[in-house]
Amino acid sequence: MGLEIMDDVRRDYIYDLVRGGRREDGRAFLDYREIKVERDIIKRAEGSARVKMGNTEVLVGVKLEPGEPFPDSPDKGVIITNAELVPLASPEFEPGPPNEDSVQLARVVDRGIRGSEAIDLDKLCIEEGEKVWIVFIDIHVLDNDGNLVDAAALGAIASLLNVRIPNERYGLDGGEETMVLSNKPVAVTMVDIGGEILVDPNYNEEKAALSGLTVISNPDGTISALQKYGNGSLSEDAVTEMVEIGIEKAGELRRTFLEP
């Protein structure tokens, strides 16, 4: 009960601030928190990245293993995206099998990559119908101060930028090979607080907002995934405005963190 009252107090505080044109951490409505991306920090992984977005911290590792293709696409590699909300990262996360939050996080990141055809699955066939590369994208959340999806999606693409194909480990021909990345989808998440659109919500803003939207878009301005969150509704105008902002902010993030 005490906790619920705290929730209400926090929510009122966030709304009051926004009504006054401000955010808890002093940012402008359309600003991201400070972002740091470090790549190739996990030796054992074929690709990896640690993304800090303010106090939110996510580690993404990419592993490749030979495995069976799906029966209906015998000459294509397979992407498996998985997110673990390990209890280290938040007092609210509990040990156990994936719940709806971790499933949604993984699936939204996954859809962004699939929708944009960032990974060329045709190039991941080892032996048609028998053996293809399985690309495991594992999202490991270390500190949750909100907006896990943008951090995870950015970490996933950063991890994929320079993935070594482990031919040697599995006794396969091919030598030193790098997986080609064909596209660079970037996720931008916004919430609606009292009619205002806030980019990159922190934990308290996320909790306070009734609705949010993630927009994943590509360098050519196309959208490859959308996902609305929350128990509230959004007007048509809000959604189209969020899509516009999302595409623009994605371009900024891409230029800063994903270009050579």
Partner: protein, 238 residues
């Protein structure tokens, strides 16, 4: 999605003869189950879906209760025989996500404050699937909630739009979904154009997205009328 090689549009018509903004056949039956507090059978083309509602009823375990309002639960489940390759019983990642998105699609219309400490359970069974099951499920659930007498501000209506052969079209069937370029399910409170769910995957430009959203909004108005009519018929019978 996004497979090439099959022509999905010929002579301005889709393979099943529909025009771009045409819904599949819809059939709605209210109150089809005896044990449930409310229920609805919903056909959308070859999709056959049943929704049942139980509650408000006491919530277990108690520590999950909300002292101020009812808790809404939603379980989307595919019958093993509803798809070409038998689906293993039990929840998978897809159904877990759909359940969450569908619940959030309905939350805005449910007046949960009337029944603190209780739960309202929505169960949606997909008996036959042909793309669009989540939208059919939300439509069925919305009617079943009304049939159960759950206090609601309005109905929620849902439909998908997508992109096939470069065109934005309404309500993709399975072939269109498999060989098309994008799919975007939308749910809304049709009478006030409030979007309660939106998902998309594939590839759309901004203008395609905006065109698709409008198409979905128009279709939701039609679906809303069908839902309303089904409920009125049901209650005028009684």
């Amino acid at each position: 999605m996004k497979e090439e090689g099959l022509e999905l549009i010929k002579g301005g018509k889709r393979l099943d003869g529909r025009s771009f903004d045409e819904l599949r056949q819809i059939r709605i039956e209210v109150g089809v189950l005896k044990r449930a507090d409310g229920s609805c059978y919903f056909e959308l083309g070859d999709n056959k879906v049943i929704a049942a509602v139980y509650g408000p009823r006491e919530m277990h375990p108690r520590h999950a209760q909300d002292a101020k309002m009812a808790v809404l639960k939603y379980r989307y489940n595919m019958a093993p025989f509803s798809v070409d390759e038998r689906k293993r019983p039990g929840p998978d990642r897809r159904s877990v996500e759909i359940s969450k998105v569908s619940r959030e699609a309905l939350e805005p219309v449910i007046i949960k404050e009337y029944y603190p400490k209780t739960e309202i359970d929505v169960y949606v069974e997909i008996l036959q699937s042909d793309a669009g099951t989540r939208t059919a499920g939300i439509n069925a659930a919305s009617v079943a909630l009304a049939d159960a007498g759950i206090p609601m501000k309005d109905l929620v209506s849902s439909v998908a739009v997508g992109k096939i052969d470069g065109e934005i079209v309404l309500d993709l069937n399975a072939v269109e979904d498999n060989y098309g370029e994008a799919d975007m399910p939308v749910a809304m409170i049709a009478r006030r154009n409030a979007i309660t769910a939106i998902q998309m995957d594939g590839c759309m430009t901004r203008s395609e997205f905006e065109k698709g959203l409008k198409m979905a909004m128009n279709a939701c108005q039609k679906i809303y009328e069908l839902q309303r009519t089904a409920l009125i018929e049901r209650y005028s019978e009684m």
